[in-house]
Structures are given as C-alpha cells and as structure tokens.
Subunit: 366 residues, 4 copies
C-alpha cells in the first residue's frame, strides 16, 4: 500500500522530483525472460519528451533511461527493475518566484499544508515530469505484453482539445502518429494547430481529452470488487497529474442511455462471443469481454500561465502571480504516452493477477 | 491487495452473493473507541433498501445488519468488525432463465468466461446487492468520522437521470431527502417522476449521474502519486456496479477550460486560505484543499429489462432474453447512499493514512 | 495491508472474539472450481476442537463452520469465501476477575494500553480461539492444494513438550494420529502423558515445539526478498498466539554448523536434483528446492494458571491473580492443526504467486 | 504486496544485484521534516562495509550512498526517498565457475529453477550485498525515529558464533563497538578471534546468532493478528540472507518453561507498569509492553567455502565445486548492522501504523 506505487503483481513505484538529481521507477514482479533493452523503453520516453515542437514545453531533457537492475544478458530476471532518468536541464532560476507564492490550480499549496516543506523547484514531486517514470515503466510493461500476448496493442490519442473535438466519422488510426497532437483525424490536426497557437501566444493554456484503446486483450481480465479492471484503469488514469475525469466505454454519457440502447447484444462468432456494439468499453462486471478496452480521461489546463492570477504568499499576504517558466499550452498532448503507459501497466498486471487465481483457464462457450 | 478489499488503513472487504445465505463486510483498521450500534449502520441501509417506492426493485429485503465482532460495550475495540446481512427474500425461480443465457450488458458472460462457474442466481457476486455491504461499511466510517472530525458531512444526490438534469440555480440541500430521487431540486423531482414512470411502464431502464459532496474535510488529505485522494475516490466510485465514469470537480469539462478560467484564485480568510471558485473539486495535486470535495459518477441503465435482446446460451446458440425479475428502472437512485458510503470510507481512510505519515501536522500559512 | 489479514493472493482475514456472537475467516483469491463442502473444513476444526481429552481445555465448542459465500454447486466460485463459526459456550462468569486485573504473560495489558478498551471476556481477540478461524481457512487451502498439486501433504506434529523431546530415531509418521499429542514417537507419547498429567494437576502449564513438514511441494515457490517462502512461513507461525520462535530446517542450530557440514550436496536424480541432506529445510534463497519443507515453532506455556502471580489492576493497584477458567495445560497440542493450517495457506499462496509471475515455467536442469 | 518490499506505511523496496551497475532502496512513507543527509546513512553502511578486517570479505566496496530524491533543504519531504549505491569493485572473473555449477547451500539452483535465468555474478540478487540497501534504509528509519522518539535506541550484537557463546554475566554494552565481532563480552571477543582464525585459514565458515535490542520503544506498538510486532520482526529477520531461525524474548526455549516461570510479573512503577522479568521479549499479544524489545536470529555458515562439495552442472552432470572468491568466514558479523536496520524499519513502521489507527492515544493505567 505504499503511496507512490501501483499494481498488484507488476508493481511500479515512481520516485523523484522535477529538479532533483534523478527520477525513476522501481518495478517489482516483472515476469522473467522478457527481452528488454534501454532502447525498448527509450522509444516511449522520446514520444513524451518535451521540446519536440512548439506545443510542448521548451525545457530540454534528454530523458535518457538507465536500467540499473533486474536485467541480465538482455532479458528480465524476475527481480526488481530499477529505471533511472537523470535530470539535466534544471534552470532553477525560472522558478524563483514560486518559492514564496502558491500558484492557483497547482499543488503548491496542498503540498505545503500537508508536509510543511516542499521542493518548489519546478513543482518538485507534483511536476508532470514524474510521468516520465510512468512512461519508462510502461515500456517494460509493453515488452512483457509483447511476450505474453503477442497481438495486443495499446494506443492513445487525443479526442478533444478545449472546445475542439474530433469527428469520429473521420477516425483514422494511421493519422495518430502524423501530427503533433496524436489526433486520429487529419482535419482536426490542422484546426487544432491554429487553435492552440492562439492560446500559446496569449500565454494561456487549455485542457484535453485523451482516449486509450487496448486491442487484443483476452476476455477474463479483472476481478470483483475492488480489483475490477475498470477500477484499476480509472485509478491509473486519475493518478496522472491534472486529470479530473475518467470514462470507460460510454462513460458519463451512459447516464443518458436507456437499457435497451445500452445493451451490447451478443452473438456467436468464429472465435467466441461477438458483440453488436461496445458501450461497455470492453468491460462487464469489472472483467474484460475480449472487445476493445476503451478508457478516456480529461486533463485540465496547465495552471502555469502568463495571465496574472490572485493568490497568497506563505505568510498569508495577498499577491498576484504569473508563471514565466517554459510550459505546455496543452499538457494533454504529452499525456497521451502517459495514458498509454498506465494502460499497459494495468493490463499486464491483470494478466498476471488472472493467471495467479485462475491459471488462465476459461469457462467454455459453445 | 485482496481483490475484494479497498482502503489502506480502514480496510473493507465485502463478501457474499445475492442469493446466498448472507453477505457482509469485514472491516479492519477502524480506530478504537468509536461509539457504534447496529442502529448507526441500519439507518444508512434503510436509505438504500429496495422496495421503498415504485422506482426501486420490489424485491423485499429487511437488510438487517448484525455486528458479529469488533464492538464491545457499545464502542469499537480496534479489532476487525464483521457486519453480516442475511439474505431472506431469495425467490430463485425468478432467475431461472439466466442460468443458461447471458444477459447483454451484464457480468454473466465475463464471470463465466473467467471462472468457469458462476452463481447465476440474481447475478451472484455481481449483483447490486453487494453494495449493501458497502453501505454498512460506510455506516462504520461515518461513525468514526463523527468522532474524529465532528463537523464533516458526506452528502450524495442525483444531478442527472437520463436526459434530465438539475438546474444548479435551484440547488437546495434541504430538498434532497424530500423526494424519491435524492435530487436537490424540487421541480426536477416532479419532472423526473413522470419521466421515470414512462420508462418503468415500458419495462425499460435509464442511467443517472450522482454527485457526492464532502464538507468540512481538512486540508492535507491524500498523497502522491497513487494514493491521491482523487485517485482513491475515483477507484471507489468506479468499483460500484454499473458505474462507467467518474469526475472530480470540473470533471470531463475541465478539457474545455482555459488555464485562466480554471485557476481557483486564492485569498486569505480568517481560518486559512479561501478560494474564489472550486473547479478543482477540493483537491489539488491529489491532496485536499479544505474546500468541499466534489465527486460525480455516472451509472449506466440496468441491463435487466423487459425489451428482448439478442444473446447466446452457454452452448453458443443464438437466442433472445428478457429479464422478468424485479428490477430498478433507475439503479442510480439506490446508488446515492452507495456513493456516500464509498466517499465516507475513503475520507476516513485518508485521515488515518495522513496521521500515520504526518501525525496530523500542517504547514503554516500566515 | 490490513492488520488481520495474511497472504498475497490467497488472502485470509480472520475476525471475531472469544465470547462474541461468532468468529470466522474471510478468504479472498481462492481459485475457482475447487470442490468444497463444510465437511472438508470441519474435519480440521474437529482436530483442533477443545474438550477432546483431559489435556485440552474443557470449554466445549461445537466449532461448526458455515460457508456463507463463495461456494456454489459444491465448488468455489473465485469470489470471497466467508466462513463463520458461532460461539456457543460462553460462560462469561468464569472470566469476571480479569476485567480489572491484567494476567502476567497475557495480552490483557497491551490491548488495554493500545486501544483503551478491550473485550476481556476470554481474552477477546487475543484468545487462542481466534486460531479456529485459521484452521477453517487452512481447510480451504488444503482443498485447493488437493486440486492443484495432488500429491502434496502438510503434516504437523509435536517434537518437544517442556523438557521432553522426541527421539528422531523412533520417528514414525503413522504414530502421529494415534496419541493426544500428535507426537511421531510412541514411547514419547507415553512419557509425555505422565509428564503433562503432573503439570495439569498442579494447575501449571508448559510450552512445546511443533514441527510442520510439507511434502510434495514443487521447486520454485517463494521470491526475493520479502516474499521469501521462509519469510512468509516465519511470519505465519509467529503470528499464532503464544509463539516465541520459528525455525526453518536446521533453525537456530545452524549457528553451530560449519560451512562444509551445512551444505546439502546435490546430485542428479531421475526426476531432477537430489540432495544428500536437508539442513536447508527445503528452502534456498527463499525459494523451495523440491525437498521437504520443514518449519518449527515454539509455543510458550499458557499464562492462565492456578499459581498466583503478582500483577496490577487497571487503576494501578498491586494485586495477585490466578486464572480459574478452563485452560489447556499445554496449548502446544492444539497448535498442531493451527501450524498445519498456516503452512497450507502459505504454500497455496506461493503457488498462486509463482504462477502469477512465472506462469509456472521452470529453468531446465539436465 | 510487491515481493521485494516490506513495511506497511514506512515501506522499503530494495533493488539491485551484486555485480550490476548499482543497488539501492526505494523508501515510501517516510514522515516529512526528518533531518537527513547522506552522512546520516553512510555511518551505518560503513559499519557493514566489507574489507574492514580479516574476518570479513576482502571485496572492497566504497558503498557510498547517494540520495536521489525525497530530501530537500536537508530534510525529508514526505515523498519517496531513493537511495543508490554504485557497485564499483566487480571482479567478475572470481565468479566464473559458478555460471555453470550450482553451489550447495546457495540460492543458485532455486533461482535457476524458478526464473530460468539468473545473474550468477556474485550471486546476483541473492548476494548478501543486497543487505547494504537494507542498512541504508535503516539509516533513514533511525533518523525518523530520532525525531519521533528521541530516547529510542536499536542495538545489535553477536551472542553466539559456531559453538562459542557469550557469558551473559559478563554482558557489557560498552564492549560491543570495541571488537570486530560486535560482541558484548570482552573475553568472548578474544576467544572468538582465535576460533574464527582457525576456520578462516581452513577455508571453512561458521554460523552465528545475532541479538537486537530496542530500548525506549513505547507500549502499544503492534496489532493483531498478522501485523503483530513480533510477526513483523520475525519476517524482517527471516528475510535476511542465510537466516534460519528467529526468536523473540525467550524464543525456542519458551517451550521448556512452565507457566509460573514464564509469567513476567507486573507491578506499578513511577512511569507505568514495571515487569519482574522479560521472558516476553517486550511483546505480549503482538503488542509492545514498553520493556526492551529483544529479537534474535541465527545465520547459517556461508556456503561459499574452499572445501570441495559435490554438486551438478546446469546440464545435470555430477561435479565438484569450491568457491575461490573473497568471502566471509562468518557472515554473521556483517549481519549485525543488517539486523539493526531491519529492527529500526519495523519499529518506525509500527509507530506510524499505530498513530494511524489509534492516533497515539493510550489506555490509562493508574
């Protein structure tokens, strides 16, 4: 139950602050025999890395991962895997003002109230930089998944940025990697670029909705009542910085449906049950159906903006604050690989948890 | 990490099936010295109890709780509290058809696939009846909270049923207990009654959104990164049957906000920081601010309806199913006390977890 | 991490007090499809049951177990199994004196100090009666083991009572069930009877050493560094009331050995590695070798005796106490089935944990 | 429940192999505001460091600890503390032979069987080198304890080496730091030196018993039934490499006592209850009494010796092995600071766990 850990069997503990010497992830419970190199992890870190285009923070971090333990002769040994990322671009001067003032909408004030001390440099532990460790851990999870369930894929993409949404009719998997927003809609990519440019130049920021789809996961993952697959996915996503809402399948809109419309009808396909629709988001009763698993989460806009906001100092004096540092106009962009990583970790963990209890056996249909 | 447990210190394990001899909750980690009687728990179970009006299932259950352990001389002893509720109205004949057929939108098929066996009577473990155990546990949590933080309140209410939503301008706390929908809007209560009557008579069902507000919680509850208060609230709500989405504060709509609008500005009040708004839902960086904590969740419509739906049998044959049993046209109504109970458990748990690590000390402001 | 639970996957939470309405065990994580009836559990409870001969407490308890959940059509469903044992012989008057006085060597005083309240009746939660719940849980573990590893056996027996020890040269498995001490040595059984009669008549009590041997467990159970098989066995045994020492294989005597004598030499047998000896007790580096797993634990003498002992009252006044209730002259006798139960739970748990991480794969030798 | 972690609130995960780039400890749940510098940790690592005299391995490791996170401005922030120790003296050539052969009495064979891969260099994860990470974590625990319970001390010492034991009549706390064996008996120190020299020159090794005493711990630490203080101490010690037995207070000898002799009689002292003796080792019913907490553990002799032992290769061929590397004739010596570290971690953890549940309140006596 450590507070900075998640997962039942494949258990990840992230550590480190934005401006400390390093940050990383301690992974326990990885299956042995998984081929794993730093490059397998680096590819995902590079996807999240800041400074790649004008829509993400210009803070430059190599974000190079080192594997300090748990891998021998190129494969995992089943012992803890320690992943470390050195912090190298720590221009602390950018953040001087926030040592005394609390940024509205930021964890500055709650960390101070709870702990009586906080590493204010770049937000310390509450910095979005912590998510680099999650992405690294997700790289390990993906490597293990590749071995255990070869056809499985985990794909994240943006479906909304501010007031702009994608047109599902134009949904195109191939577009996701072709634009800076990971958006599966070529037209949206163009509109959004203009939209975000405006906000960026105004020193403002905006929220976003990210969707992650897991394809190829077997039926039977998850368990009642508090290790439900959707429970763990919801917790995983809500634990990401700035996330304020999580949805499975139909999500909040399920409230508007009637029972007849919500029911995904079942028929028998060649390889098992087939569903007429996927309002359930691939999960019934907390257990995967074998359909695509669909989870969405909303990211609020960065609170570090150039518009002055009223706040107080540590001594309680009224003041204003603007945050001059290098920040993302839409942190949602970089939340895409983070959401993927969390989903990969949860799916792997539930594969392991399922084979613990059931040995992977399945009730027969047909 | 048991699969049917939640909570770090105040740890609840629910057990039992819809049509077995009994169900209940095993509670570990309750503080000692909490005054506790069966009546303290019964009052919340009665709020959830079915058969109270035409909008909830006509299955009659006394839902009488027995305290089997952990209480002596009227107070908790600090040892495990066992709460048991006998199942008494088990008309199994109502459910005969579902032994062979899988209800679309229901956990029937996933339980079967995962375990190769399922207690099909009334949905077994996946029945909403399991939530009675949560409500009972919530009663214990409320009793402990009453001792530890006297002014704290946990209040749930419906804010949406199907396509109907409340008018926030008419929000009235006093109305919540005055209508069968726990809705804080007298006009909505009337409109909704007509709306739901129509669905009920058609043998259909509809979803809902429930909001739970915690007032009087101190700043400083929660912890990075996976024991964030919002993470645990999200998990708690998502673990409830039929929930498909969870929101904190602004929720999914946070995606539409710009940074300047989202920032809850801070000033200094008499008893500490005061905020100009509460987009954050009382939580920043996973830690409570001292404002109202606001969590919402969407409940999908019951899949047990009278409209025939296409499905398959265990042997894979195509068929249709209608569910004739006694069911709720809107399970969201009875999800209100369940959401409250989960919130109460999470808040208590985080109070205990916080005093474990920090001893309840707080960083001084002003 | 609930305080009254143990196990990683097969997770047992015991609850209940000596003189409350009932006690029991909540079991989460049992594999589905395990044939299980109350009789499968009752047989082990009967082995532990008091009042069977003059060497165990004359308190009479039917100790009848009820399965309240998790079993359907005679097999486990994979959902929580609730086992309840009603307390029926609660002659509270026997224990009146201990409401105000603390028995030396007993948990009376520490429970009071920690919780500020205690159920003094029969020791409440600290009563050896709690071990009935463990034995019941052990019955479930045995049923699951019987399905997963058919040849595996878990056998406990006494090897020392007070100053009397068995003669290993006379060790006879067949004798264990033939005497009231579960001792594998017919001659010892007779000597011990005379020895214990003397102590019993004097109103005194004595300690004991119990050994539990697991035969037929596969190599590969356990994991570094804190889920070592021996770590979990040690914790399981030390958690039993009155236990003050735990040993694996050579145990404390390992301190006296030199490296050449301690090494269990390895050769290749027909079915894998074979060892020349078993100083290791079947565990190397926390992982089972495939040899017999051997764990021993020492039980201190009951502190409830007729000899007056100096103590204090709750108000701090000096006084004396004798405990007139019905007590065991050697609680070690009834600790035998308890030790077996704990070993069975730990072994099952590690089988599940191992297949979670490794899928049951094994490194090849030869 | 990660396999390489221990502790409920103060939770330590160790990671790393003997001959990998680094090893360390990830600590979650440390209270905020604890003054902490690398020097506070280094002092304990230096106590454990090899190569300090002829009785410990000549492998030279600087064992310099780096704090990578969780400390700011010289105090802990309440976020995860990452401690890293680089491995610098990795003469892999010393270990070449063991890549193919399994050392009797060593984890070589079980790691191979379980994982199908092992880092054979220096024993990899099963190396005693892992205990450096524990000692580092113990340094953090000691720093936190110094703040929370100023008078508390944790002291380890050897009480037996092979067939040599200390004379309790000569017990002298001041002697412990004055000899290479951490033995509280000046005469024993001399005798043991001669004894161990003989074994060392013969290329043999020997076991030992270490005792750890915690002075100044308050009454009320621990909890029924599986978070008993003695349960957690037993697990902590048994998880150390080569440990085969653990005792609390009277330990295994409790089996020989009668109830009248075992009872530590209670009287009222100036600051609360006072006991006539301490057979209980400071723990009753799993909860501390306020007396000295006394735990002992036996360490088996190193299996890496110069005497040839029969074994097999990975391909199953019979062979012999001698281990030429640099090894300790008595690993028990270096187990002293390790035992201390584990005790410090457990005591701190239980202080935090206790204040979680009880808020530190105590039942009044007198």
């Amino acid at each position: 139950m450590s507070m900075n850990s998640f997962g039942h069997i494949f258990r990840v503990t992230t550590w480190g602050e934005s401006h400390g010497p390093a940050l990383g992830a301690t992974i326990d419970g990885c299956p042995p025999g998984v081929p794993l190199s730093p490059e397998d992890i680096q590819v995902w870190l590079d996807k999240r890395k800041p400074g790649q285009n004008k829509y993400t923070t210009q803070r430059r971090e190599a974000d190079e991962v080192e594997i300090l333990s748990g891998v021998f002769d190129g494969v995992s040994t089943g012992t803890p895997i320690q992943l470390m990322i050195r912090n190298i671009d720590q221009r602390s001067k950018d953040y001087g003002d926030i040592a005394e003032k609390f940024r509205p909408g930021h964890a500055d004030i709650t960390y101070w109230q709870k702990y009586g001390i906080r590493d204010y440099r770049g937000g310390g532990r509450s910095s979005a930089r912590e998510t680099a460790a999650r992405v690294a851990a997700g790289g390990v999870a993906r490597a293990a998944l590749a071995k255990l369930v070869p056809g499985l894929s985990v794909t994240g993409y943006m479906v909304q940025m501010g007031t702009e949404t994608i047109d599902r009719a134009r949904f195109d998997w191939a577009q996701i990697g072709e634009n800076p927003f990971w958006v599966p809609d070529a037209e949206a990519a163009e509109t959004w670029a203009t939209y975000l440019d405006g906000l960026r130049k105004a020193g403002n920021s905006v929220g976003a909705v990210i969707e992650v789809t897991v394809q190829g996961a077997p039926a039977g993952l998850g368990a009642p009542v508090y290790a439900k697959l959707d429970t763990d996915l919801a917790a995983a996503m809500m634990s990401i910085n700035a996330v304020k809402g999580v949805e499975i399948g139909e999500g909040m809109s399920a409230a508007m449906l009637t029972g007849d419309l919500n029911a995904d009808e079942i028929s028998m396909g060649e390889n098992g049950p087939v569903y007429s629709s996927n309002h359930a988001g691939g999960i019934l009763g907390g257990i995967s159906t074998g359909q695509d698993i669909v989870v969405r989460f909303a990211v609020k806009p960065t609170s570090s903006i150039l518009t002055p906001r009223r706040t107080i100092t540590k001594s309680g004096a009224a003041t204003e604050i603007i945050t001059k540092g290098r920040h993302d106009p839409c942190v949602g962009i970089r939340a895409v690989p983070v959401g993927e990583a969390m989903a990969a970790c949860v799916i792997l963990d539930h594969l392991l948890l399922d084979r613990a209890q059931t040995g992977g056996m399945r009730g027969k249909i047909g």
